[in-house]
Amino acid sequence: MKNTVEIRWHGRGGQGAKTAALLLADVAFKTGKHVQGFPEYGPERMGAPITAYNRISEDEITVHSNIYEPDYVVVVDETLLDSIDVTKGLKTEGAVIVNTEHTKEEIMRHLNGYEGTVYTVDAKSISMKTLGKNYPNSPMLAATVAVSGIMGEEEFLSEMESSFQHKFAKKPEVIDGNMQALKMAFDTIKKRRGGVFLE
C-alpha cells in the first residue's frame, strides 16, 4: 500500500463525482497503473451527498474497503462544506481541492482547521467559459491530476484527448471545449503553486 495514492470525492447525486472518479481511474489505467474507482452507495437520489473513491498504484491493489485516511480530497460541490467534514482523516501532507468561486481564505473557514494544503478551482466558471454549461467534472479531474501528480500534464492531456475522441465520436464539436477546460484547470493549480509545477 506504500505506493498507493488514495483519493476521496465528495459531490451530490447527479453532479458526476462518481463519473469523475471513474474517469480518473480510466486515465490512470491507460498510463499503466493499477486502479480502483468505486462509489459508496446508499439510497441515492439527485442532490443527495455522495462519496466516491480512487486508489491508484504501481502495484496490484487488493484492499476493498472505503478510504478513511485519503491523500487527497476533492469537493465537487462546496455547499457540502457545512454539512460534511470533508477533510476528516485527510493527511496533512495531502491536500483538499474545492470547486468554488470563493477565495482559499474564505473556504478555509469551513474546513475545521485542516492544516494541509487547500486548493480552490472555479470549475463552474471554467466550464461556462469553455463549454457554455456547468459541467464541473473535467476541470476538477484536471485539478486532481495536477495536485496529486499521478501523471504528467502532457501524458494526461493526450490520454484525455483520445478518450474524448472516442466518447464524443458523434459530437466532436465539444472535444475542444473539454480540452480547454482541462488545460485551464491545470493552469489554475500551476498558478497556485507560484508557477512551479514539477512533472
Binding site: D26, F38, Y41, T62
Partner: protein, 394 residues
C-alpha cells in the same frame, strides 16, 4: 495475448456472457445486478451476440424460464441479487433436482429487512442447501474467471448441476479495477459447444422433466444430487487446472495466502479477503508475526477435509461470516469450518466473527485487531465465546 482492461465486476460478467454467447437469458432487474442483463441486452441489440433474451415480469419467472430453456436443451443463464433470488427460491430447487446446468450470476446483497441494497452473503447462504454449486470471488478478475469456469463444471456429464457464481454487491460489482481478459476464441474453445445429453427438444428421445416423485423415489433422487455434488469436486479441480494452463491463474477450492508457516488464520469469503491480505502483509513486515488467510472459493461442495488439513497447524482461527443464521454457535461458514475441524480433531482455538452485514465496511485495521485477538486466544486458551462481531456499534 491476454487483454489488459479495467472493468467493474458487473461489466466483467457481462463481457464473459458476450464471449460465451449462451442460447437463452431470461432476467429481471434488481440492484446491484441490474447492469448485467442491461449490458447483455446492449450486446444483443448491437448484434454482437444472438442470445435469446426473455423479458419476464419477476425473478420467479426468470428462473422458471431459465429452467424451461435448460430442460429444452439450451445453454441458459440468468443474473440476480438478494430479494430477486429469494423470489426464485422454489425454482432454485427445481433447477438443481432436475440436474439442469444453469449458470446464475449472483451479485450478493443483503436480504430485507430492513431493506438494504449493500453487500452481504445472506442471499446465497440462504440458498446453500438448494443443491447449487456455489463459487465466490474476491475481485473482478476472479468473478470473470469463475464465470467462465462455471460452464464446463455445470455441464460435465458427471455433475449436471446448476452453478451460482457469486460476487460482492457494489464492492466488486460496481468497483472498477484492472482485469486481464481472455481472447474470445480461447474462451469459446474453453467453454465449448453445449451438447445436452437428454433434453426435451430431442425428437428421438422422449423424456419427462420434473415429474412427481413418490416417497419410494424421492430419497434416491436426493442421494443422486449428493453424488453429483461429490463428483463436482474432481471436476472443479480439473477445470481449474485447464484454466491455469490457459491463463496462468491458479484456482482451487480455496486460496491459501501466507499459510505455509501461519500460526493465526482467518477463514473468509469474498472481497474482504483482499483487505485481509493487506493486513497480513502489514503485520508480517512490521512484527514478523505468522499470520495467514484461507479464502473460500467453493462453498458448495464444501471442501471440509482440505480445509481441516490447511488449518491443522495453526494455533487460532477466526472464521468470518458475512451473513446471519441466528444459530447459537455461529454463522454458516463458521458451522462448516468448525464441523470440519472437529471431525479432524483439530486443536486450534476458534472464534466466529460476524462482519459486513448490510454492507458495513471492514478495514485493514479491523483485520489487524482480529489477528491480535487470535494471538490472545492462543496464549490464554480462552475464546471470546462461540461468536463475536466486527464493526458492531454497542
Amino acid at each position: 495475448m491476454a487483454i489488459r482492461e479495467r472493468l467493474s465486476g458487473n461489466e466483467a460478467v457481462a463481457y464473459a456472457i458476450k464471449q460465451i454467447n449462451p442460447d437463452v437469458m431470461p432476467a429481471f432487474p434488481i440492484t446491484p445486478s441490474t447492469e448485467i442483463p442491461q449490458y447483455v441486452a446492449n450486446y444483443i441489440a448491437n448484434g454482437e451476440i444472438d442470445t435469446e433474451f426473455i423479458h419476464v415480469e419477476s425473478e420467479h419467472s426468470a428462473m422458471s424460464a431459465t429452467v424451461g430453456a435448460s430442460a429444452a436443451g439450451a445453454r441458459a443463464v440468468t443474473a440476480t441479487s438478494s430479494c430477486g433470488m429469494a423470489l426464485m427460491w422454489e425454482e432454485l430447487y427445481v433447477a438443481a433436482s432436475n440436474r439442469l446446468p444453469i449458470v446464475l450470476a449472483l451479485v450478493n446483497r443483503a436480504l430485507s429487512g430492513p431493506i438494504n441494497i449493500n453487500a452481504d452473503h445472506s442471499d446465497s447462504m440462504g440458498a446453500r442447501d438448494s443443491g447449487w454449486i456455489q463459487i465466490y470471488a474476491e475481485s473482478n478478475q476472479e468473478v470473470y474467471d469463475n464465470y467462465i469456469q462455471a460452464f464446463p463444471i455445470a455441464e460435465n456429464k458427471n455433475v449436471h448441476l446448476p452453478v451460482m457464481v457469486c460476487q460482492d454487491g457494489f464492492i466488486t460489482s460496481h468497483g472498477v479495477e484492472n482485469i486481464m481478459l481472455i481472447e474470445d476464441d480461447k474462451v469459446k474453445a474453453f467453454v465449448g459447444e453445449y451438447e445436452p445429453e437428454h433434453y426435451l427438444l430431442n425428437a428421438d428421445e422422449r423424456i419427462a422433466v420434473g415429474p412427481y416423485a413418490v416417497s419410494n423415489y424421492y430419497m434416491e433422487t436426493k442421494r443422486g444430487q449428493r453424488e453429483a455434488m461429490l463428483n463436482a469436486r474432481e471436476v472443479i479441480l480439473e477445470v481449474a487446472e485447464k484454466f491455469e494452463k490457459m491463463t496462468g491463474r491458479k484456482y482451487g477450492f480455496f486460496e491459501e495466502y501466507r499459510m505455509e508457516d501461519a500460526e493465526y488464520a482467518v477463514v473468509i469469503i469474498g472481497s474482504a479477503a483482499g483487505t485481509c491480505k493487506a493486513a497480513i502483509e502489514h503485520i508480517r513486515s512490521t512484527t514478523g508475526k505468522k499470520v495467514g488467510l484461507i479464502k473460500i472459493r467453493v462453498f458448495r461442495p464444501f471442501p471440509e477435509e482440505e480445509i481441516a488439513r490447511a488449518l491443522a497447524n495453526v494455533k487460532a482461527v477466526a472464521i468470518m461470516d458475512r451473513s446471519e443464521m441466528f444459530a447459537g454457535t455461529s454463522g454458516p461458514l463458521g458451522a462448516e469450518v468448525r464441523a470440519a475441524m472437529y471431525q479432524a480433531h483439530a486443536k486450534a482455538e476458534v472464534v466466529n466473527y460476524f462482519y459486513g452485514l448490510g454492507g458495513r465496511d471492514i478495514t485493514v485495521s479491523d483485520f489487524e485487531r482480529v489477528y491480535e485477538n487470535l494471538e490472545k486466544m492462543a496464549e490464554t486458551h480462552t475464546a471470546i465465546g462461540m461468536y463475536d462481531y466486527i464493526g458492531l456499534r454497542q
